[in-house]
Symmetry: C2
């Protein structure tokens, strides 16, 4: 029987719910409401980005948020539709069905179901650590590429041109060659919306702060820009009859009522065509979510638990799949707002869900005249805000390999597509690490005068001894770098004709694989043939244990293995 | 203008040719002849394995051997057709053309051309080190799988059943269900041949040695088994009319005359379908060749130069492509024989070529009645001799990851095919290395009494200090393992409530990437929030340089970076 502690580890609401206070509720109500103000227009806009009807974005913002409130370990994560996941849905489901059809919606919810299964599975198997293989530079390159693709995918809506789905660069070319078709009223609405959004985002916060407005008022105010333009834009289209008179594209009828109960498709064929994207959404969604959850939790000295987070996000996705929604994850912007607005617990997420439920029950008729160019503006401002140049600048200065994998990922996303792009990025980062380890740094060691410490002759004033050459290899020895070491040793032998003893210090050797071991043995033989003895020093405990287990130390010679380089030097009469 | 030394580096014959002596020639003549004795039947047999007419195997044994003699840096490598490369040719060209057609032959020589281009290119670009990514266990797993596939591919010839090309397991099933079709005379020839080959291979050498026969006679004698059975088998089929009377399958007419001049197909479409296999042959062929070349050179204290070897093998393959041959590489068995028979220089290889040229000029009529089951026997004995169980036993005991990648490669070769198999193997080995580095060993350090040395508390009698926790992380810090370290530190903080200072010794940290650096900074902040200072010690020179370049050391605090753990302990008043 599980104890209370175990239960509340898997259902965190049981832990915080027990001590929930009136003051918490006040804070959560405000935060939940502010997030809902953002989420209503975002839900509708991201659904459009995913190629889904507007209500699907709202459905995905009800039960999934309640489930996350119950199972999530972050108290401030804002779950729901996000731009990156939406474009992934569009790019994969778009290949299997026509946008706007019932099939398309069904495939999107089946995809959410698969994402849920994968995330819950990974969480229960405790393999959440696998997402660390998505390095920060690769993620940044991916997000930058995706942001450009998403931004330009909205160009048609913004200009009022009917641009067919096509490659990123082609979209721009198409827009330019069809410039005569631009609907200027549509464009004006979009451009004005962008202006308002940028003003609220960049300028207003500072102004309110300088005016001494308390943050409990300032935050809802600055974050209400999307809602504000939705209200103004819809009213304008309605009052001036902009749809019928000048052809401004609008959202149209959105059905009212709570989300329907839906059932994912249970066909292996469908599953196997959705599975690659499901894995990518599971990983990318989780990485996005966990990074923001971690950084917010850190500010309040709390911790999030990666594997439980996977389970919670997985349950959210499963609940989206059975209530007519689509894939969800933690949103960067809404989480920050939730945190800043003072959310105390998962109750804030539940309150947001209740407000969205109220919206789909009673307010959907208000969306009828909502212009699409306005939604495009919301998407564009959101995604261009994700673009991260700093990581590139930093890694260019600090670690070219990271900068390189960021560039590769970026261009792979742009030119191979958003899904292959992320795979290419992960592969590149791993390969670069391998390449890096395959040409290890090798230092020739000398003794620090009057100390027992041996350091790189190229960096320190140290003394060496002609008869004995000591090196330190700064890498674990394995198949990909052992031939490099072997060649380096032959080179050193040629460079130091008076060498009689050769010492290899293994302070940085964390493991020696089978291929490397064979080479070490043959190296010993080759050196012996030219009269040079081979010594290993400072072998780490775990490495030594293994070598002993197979009798290597004995075969190599107990006299040739020393605890420290200094001991070896003393043994060889050189210190 | 290149100097003589540079020239003879790229054309090694210029170096050894200048000092060539009569005694060298005697030795090379014997060795070259012995190798030719092996190569005639092997060339015909491996051509059959590759799905090519018998003469193609002989053509591939003339100009390529002369070229290798001129350009090769190993003096004893026996270049020519080998089993593994032959099955690779069969499996890839077999998908593009019907065996036995002129198209098939043309594709095979185009493949040799591409292999030549790749190998010369890799050699000139000096990227030969890339082949080290094929680890010994993966290679062993690959060879074992390929040996089984090759062996069973000969079952039809051995039994005299016409088995269609199919999967390894299906071949056996087909043979069993069609047992009634077995041609027992064919089988008898094959079985007898296997018996003779095994006797010569396993027993005869020892008997001759015990009888005191000098090796100059013993080696040609023991290695003449294939030639002997070819002579006996052909004679028997001819004398007893076994082909017409009982249907023993024979080689048939082999055209006489020197190799024709041929031209590889110069079509991009053809190239792109052959390219994946061309890369695999280039890599696998080179690895096989360089390992035997290296181990033989070591015995005579010579060295082979990886990149020049690539160029030499590449030129051999190019020359095969223009003289009606197919892909070649260094053969394990013939190289050992060449070495044992006393080959002194590349002249031995050239002599072998001359004998093969004589054979195609005058002796091809003798092959007419050569039974195919006898060739199957030669192939089977050769490849089953390649099976390597020891590497598995050893790595199972020493390093389970190596054993695991060997098993994976073996089964991938058997069930996914010989080409995908090797790719899966390389991928698995690299992934296992990554996984290994993603969960690094972390040791808590204590002080060796009265010494300045700090060692793992779990292994040594050392003293620690409650206020200060020192750890050593045994791995470079990078995106795939930094979250693991972060979690470990949080765990340690929970386990050591009295900790005020936290020291991380970086003796084994060979690099810190961008993702890891960010985490270190946020770790410092989190620890500071709970009143713990974070110290780094023993940073390696190259790591320190980079950190300084971006101002990290200053930001982190110069007081928090120490040369050694002991210095940090003294600074913190704990030593």
């Amino acid at each position: 029987m599980p104890t209370n502690a175990t239960l509340s580890r898997y259902i965190p609401i049981l832990a915080w719910g027990r001590h929930y206070q009136r003051s918490d509720l006040t804070a959560d109500l405000l935060a939940g409401a502010v997030v809902a103000i953002m989420l209503v227009p975002q839900g509708v806009a991201y659904a459009m980005l995913a190629g889904l009807p507007p209500q699907v974005g709202l459905y995905a913002s009800i039960l999934p948020l309640i489930m996350y409130g119950i199972f999530g370990t972050s108290r401030t994560l804002g779950v729901g539709p996000v731009a990156i996941v939406s474009i992934l849905v569009a790019s994969s489901v778009g290949e299997l069905a026509e946008m706007g059809t019932a099939d398309y919606v069904q495939l999107a919810l089946t995809l959410a179901f698969l994402v849920g299964v994968i995330q819950v599975g990974m969480g229960l198997l405790r393999v959440g650590f696998l997402v660390n293989f998505l390095s920060h530079p690769v993620l940044a390159g991916f997000v930058n590429g995706a942001a450009l693709i998403i931004g330009f995918s909205q160009l048609g809506y913004l200009l009022g041109i009917d641009i067919p789905r096509m490659e990123f660069a082609e979209t721009v070319a198409y827009a330019v060659t069809h410039a005569s078709e631009i609907n200027f009223v549509t464009l004006a609405i979009g451009a004005l919306s962008i202006g308002v959004l940028l003003y609220f985002k960049v300028v207003l916060g500072g102004q309110l702060e300088r005016a001494g407005v308390p943050s409990a008022i300032a935050i809802p105010l600055t974050k209400s820009a999307p809602l504000l333009i939705v209200l103004l834009g819809t009213t304008a289209v309605f009052l001036f009859d902009l749809h019928d008179a000048v052809g401004v594209d609008i959202v149209g009828a959105v059905p009212a009522g709570l989300p329907p109960l839906t059932m994912p498709t249970m066909e292996l064929d469908t599953w196997s065509s959705l599975l690659p994207t499901a894995f990518i959404i599971s990983f990318v969604g989780f990485v996005e979510s966990i990074s923001i959850a971690k950084s917010l939790a850190r500010k309040r000295r709390r911790r999030v638990h990666a594997n439980q987070e996977l389970v919670a996000l997985g349950i959210s996705n499963l609940s989206a799949a059975v209530t007519g929604g689509y894939s969800v994850t933690g949103s960067f912007s809404r989480s920050v707002v939730n945190y800043d607005a003072g959310a105390k617990t998962g109750m804030a997420s539940i309150i947001t869900a209740v407000i969205i439920a109220f919206t789909v029950l009673f307010l959907t008729p208000l969306f009828y005249y909502l212009p699409k160019s306005l939604l495009a503006a919301i998407i564009m401002v959101a995604v261009f805000g994700l673009i991260d140049i700093k990581t590139f600048q930093f890694s260019w200065k600090y670690n070219k390999e990271d900068a390189f994998s960021m560039i590769i990922t970026f261009f792979a996303v742009l030119f191979l597509g958003i899904e292959k792009g992320v795979l290419v990025g992960v592969g590149t980062a791993l390969l670069l690490f391998i390449l890096h380890t395959s040409r290890p740094h090798i230092a020739i060691l000398g003794r620090l005068p009057n100390r027992d410490i041996y350091l790189n002759v190229a960096r320190y004033e140290v003394t060496t001894c002609d008869r004995v050459l000591a090196i330190r290899i700064d890498q674990s020895l394995y198949f990909a770098n052992i031939a490099y070491l072997e060649n380096a040793v032959y080179q050193l032998r040629a460079d130091c004709p008076r060498m009689q003893h050769f010492i290899m210090s293994c302070t940085a050797v964390n493991s020696i694989d089978t291929s490397a071991l064979e080479t070490l043995e043959s190296l010993q033989t080759s050196l012996a043939e030219v009269g040079i003895t081979f010594h290993l020093t400072a072998l780490k405990g775990p490495v030594q244990d293994r070598l002993k287990r197979i009798g290597f130390i004995k075969r190599f010679g107990v006299d040739h293995v020393h605890k420290t380089t200094h001991e070896a030097m003393v043994f060889l009469g050189c210190a």
